[in-house]
């Protein structure tokens, strides 16, 4: 326990020192500086960028496109097919990269839209309090009482299994936790002097919410948004497994993994590629989230070995 106390002390000292540097630094550059020094987060960011670049830039360079069925089914890796072919004779690497594209697209759509909805609802509720707050929070309760995956399954089955329908449906049942967290923060912020001051100066509700409240919650919001990216990747994979997620001609990493998981012993290359891609995405994004949280929250900055 002693070393915890000690390291906290050192950490605080480090933070204090950096804030009293010769050059006056803006809040954002301090945060950026802290983030850059978070090793795991930086490595993760690099890996994620590499993966994104690969997913979008490599496919045109491959000898086969993802639709080409001219090769035999289940070829072993080698020759023109670096990761072999699938049942229909399509290049596995091309499929994998395309799956990564779709999974990333789904993940970011879900993260961005659920964050926007959650933040707006949470901030408005927390700021206005009273009846509206109560009503909005009951709305959150309403959405929370049914398992997300069940509703997603119904809607995807009723509408269609394209990637954007899946994204919208996942976003629809993913904003509640962000809304709750934002509301909490908005509640405490709205009691602060600068909000009262601008209210006294006659600023409207929307002005206060968007110009004052939300900018001050950027830390929490970013951290939660990154978390919802990895949740989205994993939820989509689970939906795909029960046959109610994205379906061909669209695809996703979850779909590819679930097509191939029983091949893990027979044709390991079919399984490990997409599996590693999922792990990589969810893991790097969480580390980035960790890094962001540490960067935004000075109390949590510790000296790392």
């Amino acid at each position: 326990m002693a070393n915890v106390t000690q390291s906290t002390a050192v950490g605080t000292a480090a933070a204090v020192r950096s804030e009293f540097d010769a050059k006056a630094r803006s809040q954002s550059s301090i945060i950026f500086g802290r983030f850059v020094r978070h090793r795991a987060a930086m490595i993760s960011l690099g890996l994620l960028l590499l993966l994104v670049l690969a997913a979008f830039l490599v496919p045109p360079l491959l000898p086969y496109n993802y639709q080409d069925t001219s090769s035999g089914g289940f070829l072993k890796p080698g020759g023109g097919h670096l990761l072999g072919t699938d049942q229909l004779g399509r290049d596995t690497l091309a499929q994998l990269l395309r799956g990564t594209q779709f999974s990333l697209a789904i993940a970011f759509t879900v993260a961005i839209s659920s964050t926007v909805v959650g933040v707006v609802i949470g901030a408005v509720a927390g700021y206005l309090k009273g009846f509206l707050d109560n009503a909005l929070m009951r709305l959150v309760d309403l959405f929370l009482i049914v398992p997300q995956i069940a509703l997603a399954a119904i809607l995807v089955h009723a509408w269609s299994s394209t990637w954007w329908v899946v994204s919208i449906v996942l976003a629809l049942f993913n904003w509640m936790s962000i809304a709750r967290i934002t509301r909490g923060e908005a509640l405490s912020l709205s009691a602060r002097e600068f909000i009262e001051a601008s209210r006294a100066a006659g600023a409207g509700t929307w002005h206060i919410v968007f110009k004052h409240l939300i900018p001050n919650m950027v830390g929490t919001i970013t951290v939660n948004a990154t978390l919802s990216v990895s949740t989205a990747v994993l939820t989509e994979a689970a939906l795909s497994f029960i046959g109610l997620g994205v379906q061909l001609p669209d695809t996703s990493l979850g779909l590819i993994v679930n097509d191939n998981y029983t091949q893990v012993l027979l044709r390991p290359w079919l399984f490990w590629g997409p599996f590693l891609a999922i792990v990589l995405i969810s893991m790097t994004i969480s580390f980035i989230g960790d890094g962001l949280r540490d960067a935004f929250d000075p109390r949590q900055t510790k000296v790392r070995a």
Partner: protein, 600 residues
Amino acid sequence: MRRSKAIPAIAVMAGAALMLTACGGSGGGDQGSGSTSGGATSGAIAKGESGDTYTAPKVNDMGAVVVSTDKPFVAYNNATADSVQSYNSYALIQVLARPFILDGNNKVLLNKDVMDSVDVTSTSPNQVVTWKIKKGVEWSDGAPWNCKDFYLAWLSESGQDVKPDKTTYFNPGSTTGYSQISSAKCQDDQTLVTTFSTPFGDYKSLFGISDEILPAHILEKQTGISDITQVTPQSPADVLTKVSTFWNTGWKGFKADLAPASGPYKISNWTQGQSITLVRNDKWKGNPGGPSQITLKALPDSNAQVQALQNGEEQVLSSAQPDPNAASSLQSLGSSGITYGANAGLNFEHLDLNFKRPLFQDEAVRKAFGQCINRNELVDKLIKQVQPDAKPFNSVIFFPGQPGYTDNYSDKLIANPSTAKQTLTADGWAPGPDGIMAKGGQKLSFKISHTDIPRRKQTVALLQSECKAAGIDIQDDTDPHFLDKRVSDGDYDVALFAWSVAPFHSAGITTYQTGGNQNYQGISVPAADDAFKKALAQTDASAANGDYQAADKAIAESYGTFPLFQPPNMWAYTSGIDKAYFQSYYGALWDANEWQKPNS
């Protein structure tokens, strides 16, 4: 009379459209070891089979067996519209006795353990069929299995019990054949005489093939009716309501006192959604079955079935919705004493071209589309992992192995894009700048519509690249609800789906006859219409064979519908059992009474 026999295998068409496609998709077995063994395929012939008859053979006791299949047993009465499905039949085949049974090749056999004879006793003015029941056959509760039970089957499925509001009292899954019976009379306890208003060659498909002979004495006791044969479709409303309510709802699930057995086994236990257990029926008069107890367990994941088999938790595995990955695991288990088998199901995937679309009124287009289709590639990549000896399917009326099955399609679906291109060029089509053929400003482009089963998507993906070379542009139209309404409304260019049909040929008539009930695509082939008309006038199914063949050929020559392949079934069993075979209609338990230990 124009309706095909609606059969328990509905799971294959509607069910498969909706089936849980969890781990399916790709997979397979190019390792080729331990594929279908000789033992597995010869299992199609029952041990008790002799000519056109069947008698349960003498076998040795083999103790308890556990069998797995995809879905659970739901109802003892498998004849109502809301219960009919093959997974009920899979258990009922051993529980409910029937005049005719089907062997592994779908050959119709007279069940000599319970019947004396079934004959057409008159053909004019009306067809009359007489059913003679063997004396002494009993239900497991001791009541006689007799003409009353047959009569109830007709009463409930005749479709003649119409209420003023046009609905019927009884709620049967199908009225085919029964609706043509104008009178059913019990001459005595052992003899039923049925008179048909119009000829019906497939009379052997009635009274039992679809598990419809239920215990009338139970219904009498429950409803307080003293003699069911006194009730007719024209009886007073209160009587019909009483009787039909019990028939519609009283036999759901399994209640021991309401659900006796007439076959070699009786149901001893049922756990909803999980399993059903059968034990020997001590009132059964034929030779007793080999297994002392049969547990039929529902395991929706076929990979889980494989591991359960490997772990000795079950002795027989069967799946009508096989997963290629599971199939390849099974095929590699030959060394651990597991025998694997796969055969074609009683259904076929096909492409229907919509004649209401101007594009397909052009014969050259239909012909060229057919010529670019490579069915061997479809079979190789989609089916062979499960069924190594699978072949393209070449008829729309007959199944392979039935007398009359001829290859009408291999010279039409020739997998040759350049011939297809020539066919189009000869008709005035010319390639546009994008490589797609066009004529008079119209591009040769159409959609293939289907439900969201992975195999269908894969089929379309393969067709797209096959026909691209011929300058034909195919769009994929995946719609989970395609079979709900769009298919019957004819709202498609080309439809890709499966017909699942009983092995009785009259099934095809309403689909391909001009104006037929299931003729959604608007096909009209005069030669086929004539042949169907002739076939329907026959009172015996085999006499109509030639007419059906002529119809089949004429339909093929119209280039309006292209059969592709038959989705397979698979099964496997451990070395503790001498043989097992997946009967495409009744599943793995069809011959369970014949099972014993090998070399015993």
